[in-house]
Symmetry: C5
Subunit: 315 residues, 5 copies
């Protein structure tokens, strides 16, 4: 059965959240309300910091590679329950995974419908692209708080992807839904090292803001400056430490007027993750979006890790 009930979120916004939302000068009250649902939910609710659980690895890398190490993950209910038990702000996933648990969990945590997906059977070095596997109407039917979309900034079909994004943002706004943009600078002339180069990541995040994104997701950047034409400009921009680079990215996102969350990428040690979270907090980012490092751990370990992250982000 379709579920369009809102999650039970306290709607008395904190000043911090009110302030964040006030920067969305052109958005309708309904879009702001949905952004507010995410910002006010869970143990970080009201702080302006977020942790979001994204799970699309089954689609992107295949089920066995993603879930065999922790087979409870084959069941889509697991991710809902994990995000819920950890007290996170939102759970983001493809259509099928959300559908499979929405009746049971849909009113318990804000959902983000990830709308496009790549996969590991296809691969293009210069023209990476994703299939848009669902519609904004699906997000509405599932009672989501937002939609998500991946841009491969630099891909040969980047212009077409920007135009897909434009239509999705417009349709989502007409239903009161904000849009989260996953920025992956990849394809075209970009080598592997450019994908996390600080200049490229900041540029990609800025373009998503210009395209009307409400929240930006980028990988934590390295201190490489890749674009030849940008090197001179970076001589006077402090980007040595991770916290400085986080700060530069938020600066590129309309000087902090747009929400930015950071992902860490591949599985790593808990200590490494927590030091990244500290940098996000110090640099003024809006938190973390973390998948594999959570669901590929045993549930108790994942909950412990989230506890520690939340403690840091609460500051």
């Amino acid at each position: 059965m379709k579920v369009a009930m809102k999650t039970q979120t306290s709607l008395s916004l904190t000043d911090k959240v009110k302030n964040i939302l006030s920067a969305y000068e052109s958005d309708s009250p309904k879009v702001k309300e949905n952004l507010g649902r995410i910002l006010m939910h869970g143990r970080l609710g009201g702080t302006g910091q977020m942790i979001i659980l994204p799970v699309d690895q089954g689609f992107e890398h295949g089920p066995a590679r993603s879930f065999a190490g922790n087979p409870v993950c084959y069941d889509p209910h697991y991710f809902y329950q994990l995000a819920l038990d950890a007290g996170l702000n939102a759970y983001a996933a493809p259509l099928g995974a959300l559908q499979a648990g929405v009746e049971t969990f849909g009113d318990k945590i804000p959902l983000i419908l990830k709308m496009n997906h790549g996969n590991s059977l296809l691969s293009s070095k210069t023209n990476p692209d994703q299939a848009v596997t669902c519609s904004v109407q699906d997000a509405v039917d599932l009672g989501c708080a937002a939609v998500g979309f991946t841009l491969y900034n630099g891909s040969e079909s980047y212009n077409a992807q920007l135009e897909e994004l434009r239509d999705i943002i417009a349709e989502a706004k007409s239903h009161g839904l904000p849009t989260v943009v996953w920025c992956y600078p990849r394809g075209g002339v970009l080598p592997k090292e450019a994908e996390t180069a600080i200049d490229v990541v900041a540029y990609a995040a800025h373009m998503a803001c210009q395209a009307g994104a409400h929240m930006i997701k980028v990988k934590l950047p390295s201190d490489t400056v890749w674009l030849e034409a940008a090197k001179k400009s970076y001589e006077n921009i402090p980007v040595k430490t991770l916290a400085e680079r986080v700060r530069h990215v938020t600066q590129a996102c309309f000087n902090g007027r747009r929400l930015v969350v950071f992902s860490g990428g591949e599985a790593k040690e808990e200590a490494a993750i927590l030091s990244e979270i500290i940098a996000i907090r110090q640099g003024g980012g809006n938190g973390s979006i973390m998948g594999r490092n959570a669901f590929q751990r045993k549930k108790e370990d994942a909950l412990k890790l989230f506890d520690d992250m939340i403690a840091i982000l609460k500051g």
Copy 2:
């Protein structure tokens, strides 16, 4: 004349079927009712097991190659009658074949309109694709219980095919129709051996679930693991026996929350077929979808084979 009457199916669902349908958490009562029509029909009705007769070989391989050995097959009425006499759950075919018998048989057995088709005059190793030769409205007009769609997972146009599927699923749902996805991992970088490799088949099935499919059709997989990046994950997944591989595929389909039926491919001995059916049953699959091995036998032999398959699947 258009026929939109429902097949005469007992609608008092068994607990087994109720349980299966309850996993479709986001679907409307109408979609579940149509899934229920298929699950409750025929001699396996109510068991959660199915046998479906699919006949699209005339389109895909040509009429003579498909039917010359049993010329009664040139008449589209034959397949309807065969599925009916054998007590199967549903009959799946292209538009023209369904049209040619719908007035005579449309209210006697659930129909699945197969919406896209390849053919043997065209062939592309890297970019296999199918023409969508009819519309969801055709399925509605024919009184079908579901629509069917083939994905060539891995084809260079796989992303475009996923987007076609997305639109078909959405339109079908708006008419209360579930969608069955035929997964053929083929094209792009995939060699012949990858098409039935257990990792590739499980991955293809998982992606169909993520795209919102209600039922998945895959070939029975081999124990080959083809994707280099997946090999490590499969070290601890039991896939030696066919039953184990069936079980792994159902696991990849949201841990059994989505229906999966298996096909055996080319013509083979009855004993071989029955041992496959046993494996499907043992592995927790939802039954069989079998074309050539049925209609290319004499009718009495086909009915005998179906009898034996049904006996096994009833368990």
Copy 3:
């Protein structure tokens, strides 16, 4: 002025025609009525046999090559009058030619609007394609009894052509119009000899039926079997004589449940034509669709030829 009046056709159908129409199990009374208009019209009216005059050579080969030998053909009224005087079942032509005589002749003979056209300025060996030069609405406005569409089965754009056909059939049906499909297996890997090979022609005709065509037009096939994979199947199919090949094609068209008419191709002697007509009759085809061999003869010779053909088809 737009002409939407129906041709004056006796609507008391013969049993033969009733029987033919009853095989169109999914079609609306309006579609059957229009098929009936063609089957009941002219001197073959009611016999289940047809002769249709198709004239699109001006578009496909150019006006001088087509008409210079019989310059009355430059005037589009000539073809209407010829079909009328010969007592044929229908006249098929491109938009412009029909428009130029519809007020004068539109209520006197069933019209088939041929909707797509190739031309001799373009030529592609592997990707032959036609422009769709008019719409179903044009057919409705002209009061046509059917629309016509060419498929180049085997062309690199065959899938796209099938999808164009799908949309045309659907729109035509919504206006009560049946669709006639001209099958030209051509393009892709097909060499010249394959275009009339019996296996390829039967296959092409079968695919048109599966796509929902109401009437199929093919060239009279040769006894070549071209597809390697089909050769074994043809060892036991009698295709030595032309009549046998006609019978095999009707078999491939849902065992006679769909109408099939045959064309002979290039200009030839009267005796050769008549022996083809005899074969069509013997093989159980539904008649002839003949252009150049009619209009490139002097009118009196053409009328004489049609007389002889009609005599044979009446049996």
Copy 4:
């Protein structure tokens, strides 16, 4: 301000014009009325002969190349005034040029909105194509009597161009507007000499008629026969003199049932132009469409030339 007033044209048609319009058997009274507006306007009004001023050279060749020799041409009002002062039947131009004078001149002379345009910054030998730079609605808003469209018959995108034309004709007709087709056989395998070859020009004109064009514009053809397959047919067609070639083209246009106007191409001497006009008159064409040879002359010379042309066409 939008101007949708009709030009002041006497609507009591001459028998000549009534006769011409009666050949448009499928067209609505509104379409015929607009064709009539053009045929009845100016000093040739009612004769069945026309002179149309087309000015799109600014778009196609650039403003300086087109207008520097007669700088009054930079002002779009000049062309309106010239056509008006010369007593021509109509003025044809791109959107911008018509917009710039429609309030001042829109009710004084029938307008033809030329809808697609090439330019001299792009050039493709095998795939010439034009951008459609305005819409039928623009023609309606400007109060035009017709729309114009260029076909590059033979271009690799000729099929796509025919389909664009189909949609424009259909939409124009729905607003009561006829369509004039500019035929430029060019691109694909066609060499320069083929562009004016009599067989190619007649073929191009014929295809435009088949596509539903109301008026055809072609260049005056040479006596070259270019298509190998057409050479035999032309052995018995008289095409030695220009008048014979004009006659053959009108024959190819449904034996005179469609209006055909001829252009002369590049700038030339007055005597040469007038001898061409004589041939058009003798061959039964419907007049002249002449741009550069008019506006690149001083106004008084242009008016004198038009006077002489009108005298000839009046006969």
Copy 5:
């Protein structure tokens, strides 16, 4: 919140502005009113001269390259405030930048929504193209006075770009919004030197006028004549001085019937800028559109420069 309030502009038009608007003969009062809003606003209001602040460098070159030298620019409010404080006619920017300040500044200065954008991660020498990152509806929702669109005249996709522009102009007009076209002759066969060649720039501007643009933006051209075919025509056109070239461009824009503003390109000395402004004034252009030379200066320097420019343009 959406902001659709108009900027507070005196609507009693000067004779100069009335005269300019009267040349837009086909436009609705609403479109003229919006053109009038821009022409009447700021310190040049009513003079027929304009200075517009365009800022899309964050999208096109990246945030650090554009803003690091003057970090206040990371905040989108800065540009609004700068245009306001300098008393300019309008501020033009991408969607995101306008959204971020529209509630605060939307009623204080006319806005132009720049609708398409290139970026520095992609680059094509022969086929430059831009993504259309927002919609006309966005411009309406933001209360803009106009929309802006870039054409790469000469690009291999120039025809497609013209058709995008056509649809945008039509939709914008239906909402009463005029369209400003940024002309960048680039791509295809054009070398770097052609991009500012006087013949190419005048040609590009002319085509934009023909396509229905209301205002044209070009770079100040050089005295190079690049098109071989145009060289003869330029022998008698005075283009030695910058003022003469400005005059020629306005001539190419329907002899002054369309507004033309000029940009200077890369950062340069104040003296160089002012001498360009003098040439624009002398040549009869309608003013300046200047981004980097303004916002990359310290605010006080930028305001001083604008003061000097306004003094010159006021004349």
